[in-house]
Each structure stands twice: as structure tokens, then as C-alpha cells.
Symmetry: C2
Subunit: 326 residues, 2 copies
């Protein structure tokens, strides 16, 4: 009880300053505050015990940007270029040949599964530790083509505030991403405060073996699980085992996660990050190849889910942005 | 920081009474205390930050008994009997025909995978919620054939104390079981204090669909993942994403988990529950069909892992046992 009490005391103290300073005082922000109050206030008919306060967040387009291409695809392209000298056969072999010529449109048409195929093929036989080291090196050195910033600075300041606010109120924050766990986990704890065991995502299979007497897990060129679309509820069920009371996403790839979370009994908050700010970020929805938001937006409008307009609801987008005048 | 401080204060207070009262003051108990002190004491060269204090526990034979048959097999047998009237074809079809005649030896030879095959076939098409309700009903009403106790009382009191002791010291306790997540999660939080998201185990595939407009996950007759033997390190990697600093098991099915945990840098505790007490529980190891402990015992002896003798190290086995005279 001492631990819980200290948590609530910290929460109470945090109320003296606005925990979501990068959000305008709009309907979306009010919906978040109202929901958290409903599920955490003692005596509330919608009270949810701390152990059941599961909040699920998509990553690409929800916690960080996904334009002009999924950042994991940028990583894959850099890896293919780095490995090409060891694979002369790639000059003739698709999709490697197209990629090495700079043609990413074809790969993009295949979405994230196509990215996985490429990465699996290129890194089969490597250990999970070797791959994690490559991810850490890339994320520390690669720069976004438009802003010149490290990719880990292309995260949404209002969402960082939301994650922290939820945790102060006893929520366990999870990433539920179509992206790969091996790509997200090496930096998610530092950037989002989300530990590896709370990252659910797509994954490849691994094989345990002893190399020089030392146990390693070797990457196999075989998908284990695609955590997107209808896969997200299955991923939540098998990896978390509890239905989220809050789910945030930005695309039709999150639609089934929204439905699954919304169908639980009791209070629920379903949030959509709507990319409406062509000036500060990007503006896209129904017609976009990346992060298409169409059917989920219709259902959100019909059911009164919380649609967050980046342009109208957020004072700043990235941590490096100056605050916008209110 | 308030939350952490309260946690440490609680830990300090707990020191005034022995947190492991069901353990004799033997080498095993001293090894546990010494390890926890090494990894949690400020300034210790082996200090492990709370976020990295992952402790992994096998379930069958480590947290609860597994004789005369895995409890999940007892559940499967009861389910087959209950469903038999709806499946007249089972009278002719193996393994159902043998099971219905009371012959479990043949199924046992196939180990836990055989149990899964039976359960998958018998429950395909059911929703995950329906299955969870069946598990909850069974675990509340079924009785162990030898003791007549509910299966959830066939848990090891010294291990319950160990789980609680570790949590007070900032460890996150996980189950890493060859058994099924759908069988363990419905009662693990109440019995062990381990929430669903910290239960790693074998799993079946599910399919998301809308039934009468309501989202459900339907059980498919297809294995997703066998979390045993070489599967345990892969399961730990994909579901937890962090290497345990402590691993407890009781059989060769845990051998690779032991090796994987032990191979991490820094202080590690590898513990084996050795079934040595034919009077109060069961005595079995190298020659047993259930819970065979042979190669892992050799490696434990060679490397100085902590082998816990149920007979010599535990004052009581089950919560309902009277304490043994010291």
C-alpha cells in the first residue's frame, strides 16, 4: 500500500501543473482528463484497479512520425546498402536490386511485411545481440531526410506527456506496433519510458544454439507474428493477456485494436492521432499509402471516439518545436 | 522517486521478520538472500537497476506440483469427458478413444505437446473468453486425485514466499512455462500475484472476427508457440525482451532457460527445485517421464547452481502443510 500511496501522492502533486502542456485546452484534452478521472477516482462507478489499467499505443504515426517512409524502412534501406558489398547477387535479385537503385515505391506497396522480408533475408544467421547492436548504432547516427534530426527526436511531445501522465495515474503503457520488436525495443525505454516487456510488435523466429559454448539466439528468415490489422487483438491477447482500457493509434492498421479495446466492459478511451498539419508535420489520411486512415476514421466519427487533430489540438508537435501561440 | 522510496522502505520494514519462513536456514536460502543483497544494495558492484530485475519461474513442478500427471492434462481429460457426448466419433478416434477408456499413458508419452493437440482439437472455434470461463470453472471445482485439494492449493508455500520477497525488492516476477497461457492466466494473478502480462507460455493461434457485430478472438486448432526446452529462451526473448537475472525451474525442460539466464553478464541466480520428498510431495528426477531432471542437474552440480531439496530445504511444502520441526 505504501507504494500505491506514494504514487497517488505524486499524482496529486502533479495536478498543480498541467501534465499535458503541449495540448491545447480542446475537447481531446478534456476527454483524456475526464477518462482518467473516471477510471482512477475512488468511488467512481467506472473505477479500474491499477493492475487492469492497460493502455496500448501504436508506434508509427502515433508516437513518432512515419513520413516520408516508415523509419524502419529507412533502416532497412541503410542496412541493404551496408551489406550489398557482401552480396553481389543482390544486383540481379529483387527486391534488393530495386532498392539499391533507390526505387522504394515497389517495396512500399508491400507495406511493413515487405520490409520484414527484406530484413529477414539480409540478417538471417545473425544473433539477436548482434542485431540489437546494429539497431542501436543506426538509431544513434541516422538522420531524418527532411528535418536532419535523429529519428528519436521525431517523436510527438504531446504523446510523451500523455504516456507520462498515464503512468503517474497507475497505467501500464504498452506499445502495440506493426513494426518489429527487435527494431523498437533497443531505444523505446529511453525515448518513451516503455520497457522491452511492454513492447508488443511484429517478430521473427529465433533458434537457440550454443556458439563456442555460449548460448545465443539466432535470427531465422521466418516470420513469427505480424502484429498489424487483425493481428493486433491477437497480439494483445497472447502477449498482454488483458484487454486495454485505452488504445491510441492513427491508421486503419489499428482499427481492429480499437474495436477490441472498445468492446470491453466499462469505460474506454479510443484515441486517433489525425495527421492534419502539413506545415509542422504531414497531412494525410484516407488516400495515403503510409498510415491510411479511412475505415477507422468513419467508425471513430460514428462512435464518438477521440480524434486528435495534430494541427488544432497540439501546441507543439516535436520536442524541438517552439510552442505555438495558444 | 517517491514510488521507489516507498518500495525500499517497505523492503527494509520486511527485514524485521524472516520473509522466507518456510525455508530452513540452509545453503539454498542463504544463496537467495546473498544474491538479492548483491543485486539490490546501493553501491554493490553487482547492482542491477529495478527495471532489469527480471525473475523467470517455470510453473509445473516449480510453483505447483505436476504429479501424478501435469494438472493441465487432468483438465484436458475432464474436458474430453465433458465434450464426448457431442463427439460420438471420438469413440473410434485416437487419442480420444484411449483417453475416454482411461488410458493416459499413451498421451503422456507425447508430453505437453500431445496435451495441446487434444485441447486444440476439442476447443477449436470457441472464443478465448469462453475458454477462460471454462478454465476458471474447472480450477474452482476440480480436486487433486491424491490430496483431494483444489489444484491451486497444490502450490509450494516456499516459492510463494520467494515470489513475494523478490517483488518487495523490486523484481518483476514472470512465469515461463511449457504449459498454456490460456490455462495459467485465469488464476495466476490470484494464486501467485503474477499478472497475465507476466505469464509467458505455450500458446495457440487465434483469429479476430466479429460475431453478431461483437469482436471476438476465436481459438484455432493450430499451435502458435511451444514454450519448452529450446523454446524457453526464444519465448523470453520475444515476450519479455530482457534476459532474466534469476531463473527457477525443476526439469530438463528448463535447461536452456537456465543456460540463457546464466550467460548474461553480472550476478545471476539459477535455482532448481529438486523433488526429493516422497513423503510430503513426490521424489523423482533422472528417470521420470514427468519433469525429468537429468542433464540440467549435471550442469547445476558442475556450475554450482542452487539446487533446492524439497525434503531438506523446505519446512513445509504446501500452504496446508503444518510447519515441519526445524
Amino acid at each position: 500500500m505504501g507504494i500505491l500511496f506514494a504514487g497517488f501522492a505524486a499524482a496529486a502533486a502533479a495536478q498543480t501543473v498541467d501534465p499535458l502542456p503541449s495540448w491545447h485546452d480542446s475537447a481531446a484534452k478534456k476527454a483524456v482528463y475526464a477518462f482518467v478521472a473516471r477510471v482512477t477516482a475512488d468511488g467512481s462507478p467506472d473505477f479500474v484497479p491499477p493492475a487492469e489499467r492497460i493502455a496500448a499505443f501504436d508506434n508509427d504515426g502515433t508516437l513518432w512520425s512515419e513520413q516520408p517512409v516508415y523509419f524502419q524502412l529507412a533502416f532497412a534501406l541503410d542496412r541493404i546498402k551496408a551489406l550489398a558489398p557482401q552480396h553481389p547477387e543482390w544486383k540481379e535479385k529483387e527486391p534488393f536490386a530495386s532498392l539499391l537503385k533507390g526505387n522504394v515505391k515497389g517495396v512500399l506497396a508491400g507495406g511493413e511485411p515487405a520490409v520484414f522480408e527484406i530484413m529477414m533475408a539480409a540478417h538471417a544467421g545473425m544473433t539477436t545481440e548482434e542485431f540489437a547492436a546494429i539497431v542501436k548504432d543506426w538509431i544513434a547516427t541516422a538522420r531524418h531526410p527532411k528535418t536532419g534530426r535523429p529519428y528519436t527526436e521525431m517523436v510527438y511531445q504531446p504523446m510523451l506527456e500523455l504516456l507520462a501522465y498515464l503512468r503517474v495515474h497507475g497505467f501500464k503503457t504498452f506499445i502495440v506496433s506493426g513494426g518489429g520488436i527487435e527494431f523498437i525495443r533497443p531505444w523505446a525505454e529511453k525515448v518513451y519510458g516503455i520497457p522491452p516487456e511492454q513492447v508488443v510488435g511484429s517478430s521473427i523466429k529465433t533458434r537457440y544454439e550454443l556458439r563456442d559454448g555460449r548460448p545465443v539466439l539466432v535470427r531465422l528468415p521466418e516470420m513469427d507474428f505480424y502484429d498489424d490489422n487483425v493481428g493486433k487483438p491477437s497480439g494483445i491477447h497472447s502477449r498482454i493477456g488483458r484487454r486495454p482500457v485505452m488504445a491510441f493509434g492513427n491508421s486503419d492498421g489499428d482499427h481492429q485494436m480499437f474495436q477490441w479495446a472498445a468492446a470491453g466492459g466499462g469505460a474506454r478511451l479510443i484515441g486517433i492521432v489525425h495527421h492534419t498539419d502539413a506545415e509542422r508535420e504531414w497531412a494525410y489520411d484516407r488516400a495515403s499509402a503510409i498510415g491510411r486512415l479511412d475505415k477507422a476514421l468513419d467508425e471513430a466519427n460514428a462512435r464518438g471516439w477521440t480524434v486528435v487533430s495534430m494541427k488544432d489540438d497540439w501546441k507543439r508537435i516535436f520536442p524541438f518545436d517552439p510552442p505555438k501561440a495558444p
